[in-house]
Amino acid sequence: MFEATQLNRRNETTQKLFRLALGGMTGILILPVILILGTLIWKGAPVISFEFLFTGPTKGMTAGGIFPALLGTILLVLVALLASVPLGVAAAIYLSEYAPNNWFTRAINLAIINLAGVPSIVHALFGVGAFVIFFKFGTSILAASLTLAIMTLPVVIVATRESLQAVPEAFREACWNMGATRWQTIRRVVLPNAVTGILTGVILEVSRTAGETAPIMFTGAAFFLPLLPQSVFDQTMALSLHLFVVSTQVPNMPEQLPYGVALVLISLVLLMNSLSIALRMYLRGKKKW
């Protein structure tokens, strides 16, 4: 039959070589991070206990737990979500359902890309200039959360827009033909079919918001507070800033403690992310059209 020619064989070898090289590159990209995460778990896990999670820091933060920081992060995330989810979903509805294909829509898209691309420290400066000083919120949970909300707005917008656009056009047309208005169509047909997709975006935003440090440093997060925050106009501790503080600012820090803080933070973030990915996969498996 057909004998493999020399050219065939050579091509075959090159092919295998390149496959191997590219696979190796992928491995080099992923392996060190897996090793790093392994070390983080190995060194951080012994620190974590019920007490570590649910008591405050003691002895100038060199001992005790992280409860105020954990609670602060949860508060910051919740308030940020309250601001960014309605706004982000509205923006996505506009872009997916109403926006004409013109320069103005392009400008909006460009602004969204830029909002995601502006350095986090510039968002912090904006938060200081706008929320802390101009709107007189002071350094507070409110100012920090609004800064975070604006910074993570693109996450919600992009995820929501994608899930809205995934709803087939025929669904809308059928609804319009029944005499429904645009909004009735969106509310009764488009949104119910897109809600899980929107949820993946929201969870992703939780993960992004929880991990950010720079935007909250000067807008509402404090290095150490003896009391828990009483209202949104109080400052708060936050997990991400706490990691920065215990690993750089505190003398005589026991080596293990920052690993514990890092492990809690990264677990929180990766858990949220995995949840979002799992939800997306479940959604993809379930899709009827």
């Binding site: 590159m25 992923i30 830029n114 502006v118 909004w183 991990g211 440090t213 800033l241």
Partner: protein, 311 residues
């Protein structure tokens, strides 16, 4: 017939009212979502306006273009004469970002090609999820990794006194930017229509030849966009470079020199300045510079990627 139409009249009336109300709700919603839609533009303009407002006093006062961009002396709190030169800070940011890109570009593009063109089924799914998770690791955790793990490793491996330097921050930043660049590059490769590949394969091209001669050229702009976004990412990264560079003002001559980045300077110093002082305003001026540069990078990336869609 007559009976029916008489009955229909009142119903039509109420229907008409309902329709009328729905029409108003529809219009109201349209306005509301439009406001949501333009919020992104409002915020971008707002960011520029507010940081310029805070930095304005410096821009019209102590600001000296030549000193600001060409002097390596950043001494905002000097007793005798304050100098506000950001050249050394720019050099710090550039050296770290440059090294990070040397690390990240080949590996992330390689990984993207592998995931998009070679891997299949479960492997592909696993790699995609892993890359996505790696991209989610917060920057302060990366900074901690640089501080607690890379620092002793570099000191031991290269026998240098300090492990917080360009090398440390460059590698950290490279590992940080790579997953993002990989997923954007992979999207660009996936956007190349399968019929291109099929046509090339029908001509007897091997997998590699298809990738090298057909897929890569077709995805060129998307890949360039991925690289640009990676550069923007590295340029704007704050916490990781604050913690891993060593934070000393320096124009580096080797990768073992400690440097300080533009972003890190703001993060480290803003808390210690009095609002309205020239130091405070100078930090906001750095912020304006960062904003403008990242804006240009993002704009370029967008134009480049858009180019491929038209073609």
């Amino acid at each position: 017939m007559e009976q029916q139409s008489r009955q229909a009249v009142p119903r039509l009336d109420s229907d008409f009212d309902r329709l009328n109300r729905d029409w108003y709700i529809d219009k109201a919603v349209q306005v509301l979502v439009f406001l949501g839609g333009i919020s992104a533009i409002v915020f971008i303009i707002g960011i520029f306006v507010f940081i310029t407002k805070e930095g304005f006093g410096f821009l019209v006062g102590d600001f000296n273009f030549r000193e600001f961009f060409f002097s390596p002396n950043w001494r905002p709190t000097s007793e005798n004469r304050e100098t506000f030169g950001i050249l050394a800070l720019i050099a710090g940011t550039a050296s770290v970002t440059g090294l990070a890109m040397l690390v990240a570009i080949p590996f992330s593009l390689g990984a993207a090609v592998f995931i998009a063109e070679f891997a299949s089924g479960k492997t592909r799914e696993f790699l995609k999820v892993t890359v996505e998770l790696l991209a989610a690791i917060p920057s302060v955790v990366w900074g901690f990794i640089g501080l607690a793990m890379m620092n002793p490793l570099i000191i031991k491996t290269f026998n240098v006194p300090v492990g917080l330097n360009v090398l440390n921050a460059g590698i950290i930043l490279g590992l940080m930017a790579a997953p993002i660049m990989t997923s954007i590059a992979e999207d660009a490769l996936k956007a190349v229509p399968d019929r291109y590949r099929e046509a090339a394969e029908a001509m007897g091209a091997t997998r590699w030849q298809v990738i090298y001669k057909v897929v890569l050229p077709a995805a060129k702009n998307g890949l360039l966009g991925a690289v640009l976004l990676g550069v923007g990412r590295g340029f704007g990264e704050t916490m990781a470079v604050l913690m891993a560079t060593g934070h000393s003002i320096n124009i580096p001559t080797s990768v073992f020199d400690s440097v300080r980045a533009l972003t890190a300077t703001i993060a480290a110093e803003l808390g210690e300045t009095a609002a309205g002082s020239s130091h405070y305003q100078a930090l906001f001026t750095i912020g304006i510079f960062l904003f403008v540069v990242t804006f240009i990078i993002n704009l370029l990336a967008d134009l480049v990627v858009r180019g491929v869609r038209k073609g």
